[in-house]
Structures are given as structure tokens and as C-alpha cells.
């Protein structure tokens, strides 16, 4: 059996979803960790986002991380493409639907991964436009800030300006809630797809998955709210 046959089989396509999904799960930990540096302001109000700006500068100035960024985008695109392909293909496997749909046996978010993924994608487009496009290309709304003689983008200030409007906070919160539900199913499903079947691990991974989904979503939602409420910045 060739690699192509393996990865284009129904199990192989899911393997691609699982592997890219887990890489995105790992990315989110890094993303949330670096962004959480904004909360250094809670400890020291004089900080004014210095720790976060330095961390963001580090992420944008290292060749290795730039290469990893390409891998990240490749993973996201593959996850989106394969996700839509699977959703459409699976839908086509039942030409005539039921008059009464079976809903009791599964969670609504497990059945709605395509919809939740689409909501996350819409949010992601707005999110990339706000920060990534600005930081990498247009530098729109970005003021320089100097620490120890090194000039860098004041991403902290950009966050503060961006999160001054309630509608943006609402869209970000909705995006993060969609992400939480997507992860609540995706996390444990990815490991099942990779063949983790021992009860010892599946129970543990399901619990970790739920905790991870809630914590990641909460940490991200707290960021725009903290700026708007004036807790930081």
C-alpha cells in the first residue's frame, strides 16, 4: 500500500486531521503563553506591555520561528482543506436523509465540527488582519518602542487600540467559544484517530481535552476584556 493510498483512505484522511489538529493544539499553548505576558501589567503597572512586546519581537525576529510559521500555516491550510473535504464527502454518503434525525447518541459539538471550524476560520481571518498582517506587512497602527536600545513594534498598544471596541470583543469571544467547543471534541478525537485506545489514556486525554479547551478559551477571552475594562494597559 503506497503512502498516497494510506493518506487518501478514510482512516488516512482522519490521520491528517488528527496530526494537524494536535500541532495546532501545541501552537495554541505557545500562542496563549506568549500573549499571557500582557498580564505582567497586573503585577507591575509600570510594565506597560514590555514583557509582551519583547516576547512578540522574539517570535518575529528569529529565522527558526519564521520557518516554523510556514509549517504552522501549512498545517492550518491542510486542516481546513481536509476538514471541508471530509465534511462534504461524508455528507454525500447519505443521499436521502432521515425524517427524524438521531441526536441523543452524540454531543451537538461533535456533530458540528464543520460549522464550528467555519466560525473559527471567519474569526481567524479578522484576527490575522488585526495583528499578523499589521505586524508582518503593513505596520498599520504600529508605533515603535525601544527597549535596551532595540526598536520593536508596540504590539501591546495595538492590542489596546483594537480591543477598545465592544463589537470586536464580542467577535473575539464568539471565536474563542467556538474554538473551545471545537477543541472539546477535536482534542480527544485526534488521539483516538492516532490509535490511542487504552482506557488508561483515553479517559485521561478526554479530561485533559475538556480542561485544555476551557482554559485556552478563557485565557484568550480574558485578554480583550482586560484591556476594555482597564485592568491592564
Amino acid at each position: 500500500m503506497t503512502w498516497k493510498q494510506v493518506f487518501t483512505s478514510s482512516v488516512g484522511k482522519k490521520l491528517v486531521m488528527g496530526l494537524t489538529g494536535i500541532s495546532l493544539v501545541l501552537f495554541l499553548i505557545v500562542h496563549a503563553g506568549i500573549n499571557a505576558c500582557i498580564f505582567a501589567d497586573l503585577v507591575d503597572p509600570e510594565e506597560n506591555g514590555a514583557m509582551f512586546n519583547k516576547a512578540a519581537h522574539f517570535m518575529g525576529s528569529t529565522v527558526l520561528i519564521r520557518i516554523m510559521e510556514i509549517g504552522l500555516f501549512a498545517g492550518i491550510i491542510l486542516h481546513i482543506y481536509q476538514g471541508y473535504l471530509l465534511t462534504l464527502e461524508n455528507k454525500q454518503k447519505r443521499a436521502i436523509g432521515y425524517a427524524v434525525t438521531y441526536k441523543d447518541g452524540s454531543k451537538w459539538y461533535s456533530r458540528s465540527m464543520g460549522l464550528l471550524g467555519t466560525l473559527i476560520l471567519l474569526f481567524l481571518i479578522l484576527h490575522l488582519y488585526h495583528f499578523w498582517v499589521s505586524a508582518r506587512f503593513t505596520h498599520q497602527g504600529l508605533d515603535p518602542v525601544t527597549y535596551n536600545g532595540i526598536e520593536m513594534h508596540n504590539m501591546f498598544a495595538l492590542m489596546k487600540v483594537t480591543f477598545s471596541e465592544w463589537w470586536i470583543i464580542a467577535v473575539y469571544s464568539a471565536g474563542c467559544i467556538s474554538l473551545a467547543y471545537h477543541l472539546a471534541h477535536g482534542f480527544q478525537s485526534a488521539f483516538r484517530t492516532l490509535g490511542v485506545y487504552n482506557n488508561r489514556y483515553t479517559l485521561m486525554l478526554t479530561s485533559i481535552g475538556y480542561a485544555y479547551s476551557i482554559i485556552i478559551a478563557l485565557v484568550f477571552i480574558l485578554m480583550p476584556i482586560s484591556f476594555k475594562m482597564g485592568w491592564i494597559g
Binding site: 500500500m1 503506497t2 503512502w3 493510498q5 494510506v6 483512505s9 478514510s10 482512516v11 488516512g12 484522511k13 482522519k14 490521520l15 471530509l86 464527502e89 461524508n90 455528507k91 454525500q92 454518503k93 447519505r94 443521499a95 436521502i96 436523509g97 432521515y98 425524517a99 427524524v100 434525525t101 438521531y102 441526536k103 441523543d104 447518541g105 452524540s106 454531543k107 461533535s110 456533530r111 465540527m113 471534541h185 480527544q188 478525537s189 488521539f191 483516538r192 484517530t193 492516532l194 490509535g195 490511542v196 485506545y197 482506557n199 483515553t202
Partner: protein
């Protein structure tokens, strides 16, 4: 348990054959005993239809003991009806009350085309089994049953997987019309035993390939199959199948 009688409205899918378009027809059945099985209630309906000069409803059934896997109705939005770990033939009318409307549909999946009314063609399952659901056995005298030591846990898990009766409720319940619970039960059943070892890798590869060829969907681990399975086949088997598939792919020769 209280014995009672009921009148029911039945909304039943009627379809002349695979190539014609079907639709729902509504029938009334009267004085149905709560002690009857669901299929016996359908027997009453069919007697009534024959008396009225109408074509009886075609439905699959065989043992009527919950062990053969032939019965296949999708009742009020759930394969095999409202009870847990139960087949349609073992569903009894005490699950319903007087005046209820019951919607009965066939299994719906492209890989299970409707033959007539509530009867579907499940020979795709047979072809999946033919692709790898077997073991090699030496001819000659039967081997002593205890000649091969088998770990107790493996024997239990294998037996639990072998409980699958191949009814297709998993496919009917799955939003993706995936046959993964069925396939994983068949693969696990043999992969857990030393007898299944010689064909272990080719089995999983060939059976997955055949499943895809038959037009079943991909599994997204929603768990609907496990929740509706009359034999309570565990979702764990699907993860085991994934493990078997990954292992076979990685260690394949070419």
C-alpha cells in the same frame, strides 16, 4: 408489569424498489397489546394491509431473538428504536403508549440501498468481511482448544468485539454513514487473538480499502454508533482499528 392495549398511528416509509422514489404512508393499527414485539405489531399491520388488498410492508427479520442482526428499522429517529442495547425484534410495544405516532424509516446510507420499503441491501458488509475477516487454519484434526495460551483481557475484549451481529445500526446512526464501528469490531475480534496474527496487517488494510470502495463515510468519533449499538460494541475498537491501520501502514514493505 401492567398489560394494556393501544391504538397507534404509523408513518412508514414505502418504496417499491431501489430505483423508484419512496415516501411516507400513514396507517392506523388498533388494539395492539403492550406484550407484543415491534415486529409482531408490524405483522398485525401487514395482515390488515393484506385484508384491505394493499401490498404488505417489506421488512427484514429472521431469528426474532436479538441475535441474528437481520432486523433493521429506524424507529422515531433511532436505529432499533428507543431502548438501549436492543434490537428491533426485542423492542416491545410497552415502549409506546396509546395514541402515539411512530415514524419508521429504513437504514439510510448510499452503501445500504433500499431494496423495498424498510428492507436494505447490506451485502456491502459481507464484502468487507470477505476482504479480510478470516484467519488461516491448517487442515487435519481440530487443534486442542487450550493449545494456544491467550491473555484473559485479550480474550474478553475479543469476545466483546465478536458480539457484533453486523446489523448496520452503527451506519444508520452515524451522521457520516461510516461503517467504522462494524469494521473495528471485526478487526479487533481477530487482531486480539493469536489466530488472527498471520493476516493481521493485510486484514486491516484490505478491509478499510473495501469499506471505502463500498461508499461508507469516514469516522469522526461522535459516538452515535456506540450509543445505538444493540450489542454495545465499544468506540475503543475504532481507536484500536486506527492503531492497527497506522501500524500496518508504517511497517508495510512498500
Amino acid at each position: 408489569m401492567e398489560h394494556y392495549h393501544m391504538n397507534l398511528n404509523l408513518k412508514v416509509w414505502r418504496q417499491k424498489n431501489t430505483n423508484t422514489k419512496g415516501d411516507f404512508k400513514t396507517y392506523q393499527v388498533k388494539n395492539i397489546s403492550s406484550e407484543m414485539s415491534f415486529l409482531e405489531m408490524f405483522d398485525v399491520l401487514n395482515e390488515q394491509l393484506i385484508t384491505e388488498g394493499e401490498e404488505p410492508v417489506a421488512f427484514d427479520h429472521d431469528c426474532r431473538e436479538g441475535i441474528c442482526g437481520m432486523c433493521s428499522m429506524y424507529i422515531n429517529g433511532k436505529p432499533h428504536g428507543p431502548w438501549q442495547a436492543n434490537t428491533t425484534c426485542q423492542l416491545h410495544m410497552r415502549a409506546f403508549k396509546d395514541g402515539d405516532t411512530i415514524v419508521v424509516e429504513p437504514w439510510r446510507a448510499n452503501a445500504f440501498p433500499v431494496i423495498k420499503d424498510l428492507t436494505v441491501d447490506r451485502s456491502s458488509f459481507d464484502r468487507i468481511i470477505q476482504a479480510g475477516g478470516y484467519i488461516s487454519v491448517n487442515t487435519g484434526n481440530a487443534v486442542d482448544g487450550n493449545a494456544l495460551p491467550i491473555n484473559k483481557d485479550n480474550a474478553d475484549n475479543s469476545f466483546a468485539a465478536a458480539m457484533c451481529i453486523g446489523c448496520g445500526a452503527c451506519v444508520a446512526a452515524c451522521k457520516n454513514s461510516s461503517a467504522m464501528l462494524f469494521l473495528s469490531a471485526k478487526v479487533s475480534h481477530l487482531a486480539l487473538l493469536p489466530q488472527g496474527e498471520p493476516e493481521r496487517k493485510s486484514r486491516v488494510m484490505n478491509m478499510v480499502a473495501q469499506m471505502d470502495k463500498e461508499g461508507f463515510g469516514a469516522c469522526t468519533n461522535t459516538g452515535a454508533c456506540e450509543a445505538t449499538c444493540p450489542k454495545e460494541i465499544s468506540l475503543t475498537n475504532i481507536a484500536r482499528l486506527n492503531s492497527e491501520y497506522l501500524g500496518a501502514s508504517l511497517s508495510a514493505d512498500k
